[in-house]
Subunit: 139 residues, 2 copies
DNA sequence: CAATATCGTGAGAATGTTTCGCATTTGGAG
DNA sequence: CTCCAAATGCGAAACATTCTCACGATATTG
């Protein structure tokens, strides 16, 4: 039940929050922008404000229910936390997003941060390219 | 001479372009936002519009004179191309930016893209952390 | 149960960044 | 030196995101 997830995160189980969580869980696309979530809410007949969507997503991120990503082009997306850390590879043509994990890279990053004297808090790696489907389509 | 660099890039050597190129070359900070460049221009008594700064920086990027980066927090920065590809490690406290190159990671990225069937066009890797100086300051 | 403090919300205004439209200016080829 | 496409400055617009605020729902207290 979504209610419990919210309670566990220290958030009251309000309607907008439940709805937004449901949308993130049921969406075919793992990665959704605030606008996407907002549209999905309107489509399902809900009456929430865009500001609330942003507020709730930010709260979810703080509560570590979702993770946000800032892709090129100034557009951010959110995805449910689903256990393992992973990075992203995305198609510059169709916007498709795939995920991957690479232990070697993870380790190197730690090493690099350490070598530079930084205490690493986070990192983001995005690979941009053309996905298999778009390569076919295009001559 | 900047004029020549611009000509080589197929751009007319206009005053704003020359000035902006100079600013990028002389600035102590390698990474500047459009706003930074704009302020620097005003400080040196030039009369350019912010729109022109954006236009010119975009042209420079197309001409591969500069490279842009989109760090977290919705603000982009530009830096002069200076030969080697490199990635960035930045301090979440003071905004300091350092650069690094790691062949192992570069190779792994190619491998990952290939394995996923993508034809890689670009990639961006940012490591976030606390820099040595900020670690000292803070208890 | 009533009085009251707190929280979450929608709507719209505000902010910050980047782009656009258009009249005017300018670089540089002839 | 002249002329024109290219480039520019300006204000407005587009966009994503955040803030403000009054109100309604909820929890707390006596």
């Amino acid at each position: 039940m979504e209610n419990q997830e919210l309670k566990n995160a220290g958030l009251k189980a309000t309607l907008p929050r439940i709805k937004i969580l449901k949308i993130l869980e049921n969406s075919r696309h793992r990665h959704m922008s605030a606008e996407d979530v907002y549209k999905a809410l309107l489509d399902s007949g809900e009456d929430v404000g865009l500001a609330t969507v942003y507020r709730v997503l930010t709260q979810f991120e703080t509560a570590q229910l979702v993770k946000s990503h800032h892709f090129e082009g100034g557009h951010s997306v959110f995805e449910l936390e689903h256990g393992e850390h992973h990075d992203h590879i995305l198609c510059v043509k169709c916007g498709r997003v795939d995920e991957f994990v690479d232990e070697v890279i993870e380790e190197r990053q730690n090493l690099i941060a350490e070598r530079a004297g930084y205490s690493m808090t986070d990192h983001s790696l995005y690979i941009y390219g053309i996905c298999p489907d778009c390569q076919k389509e295009n001559g």
